[in-house]
Symmetry: C2
Subunit: 211 residues, 2 copies
Amino acid sequence: MDERTGLRERKKRRTRHAIASAALRLFAERGYEETTIADIAAAADVAPRTFFGYFPSKEDVVFAEVDDRLAEVAERLATRVSGESPMQTIRRSVVAVLEAIVSEHGEYGAVQIALILERPGLQARALQRLTDTQEKIEGLLRDLCPGIDEIDAVAAAGVAVGGMQAVIVHCRRHGYDPLSMRTALDRAVTIVENGLVSVDALNRPWDAASP
Amino acid sequence: MDERTGLRERKKRRTRHAIASAALRLFAERGYEETTIADIAAAADVAPRTFFGYFPSKEDVVFAEVDDRLAEVAERLATRVSGESPMQTIRRSVVAVLEAIVSEHGEYGAVQIALILERPGLQARALQRLTDTQEKIEGLLRDLCPGIDEIDAVAAAGVAVGGMQAVIVHCRRHGYDPLSMRTALDRAVTIVENGLVSVDALNRPWDAASP
DNA sequence: GTGCATTTTTGCAATAGATGCAACTTTGCA
DNA sequence: TGCAAAGTTGCATCTATTGCAAAAATGCAC
């Protein structure tokens, strides 16, 4: 299974990285629309046709790194810690995913985020990754709690991802300040765990709000 | 503001509907990829170029109806009922949106769902609409609870939408049986309101699960 | 009704993403 | 070394999408 050996593998990795890297750099310099597949291919020193051997579309190249990282995180998620409750495992997983997404941007992290925010198509792709994550969390839950009600598993995963989205939205608006992100994350986790009933402001008749 | 009058308006509506309707029909008959803009335009009896005057892209035409319906729902959401708590308003809103999406499919509802499920690009667009809804709910919350903490508002909206997603996922897997959907919806709402701590299976150490 | 201003529709041309195919190269292995 | 598998490339093609300017339809004032 180990593919560390082999010139082929190494070369493929290198080419993949070269393409992704060239693409991000060009996107940063000229903008997304203004960069063509031909440009990227030229910068990575491959034929335009080769691009599609590595990425199914121009949009996907933006997520090359993210995808790699999510794959790593997915492995960690499956790690059971004895004595931990499933709830604690979820908390750990959610935090891990968020930190992977938010803090560990690579060389062109800022560029990626800016791109994703301004291109609806890219936003959509990003959301799709979030949904995939949701399904993974659901799977994790069902592993951890054999016999758990399906609806419970799906809903719990949905609610957890909803909390993650909240943090991401918060960061979009207020930047990626680690401290502020931490606060938002804690608050979101609390709401995910204890539900909307724990949000005081939501549980008074609205007429009572402005005395 | 009323645009009921005017031949122009009526004609535009009719054309828009003709294009959307023709598109859905063709998608159903031949498939999405196999239908070109030119085909749709021909079937709707307009010039290909005209298509783009009504829809920004081929993908968007699939959501023509959904968008109309979501716009209607958005209005209802803003309706305050005296004595209701914000929480109750949210519950009402979430249920309204879900029922709009799930039960009121138009003529080609089943086709739409099938299309969306098999085309990643369409899935992405659908998710984007969910995100838009999330932002609307957040706005609603901030209106209802002036001074609510921003993180609370964002997280609450996120969690609520997460619950909605859960129901949608459930329906995808088990069909759109109203009864089963109702059950899933109730369960999801409970989890949204009371949090993951209310899911019994999640709060035992996982080792204790298999005696 | 007639004529003008505005809005819509349309045709034409050009760009660029995406795909299938077949020839050509490189790499892995006997 | 030499064959088979895997990877790369060029070419042709299809189609979505956009800009532009001419043509047609509509609303309104006279």
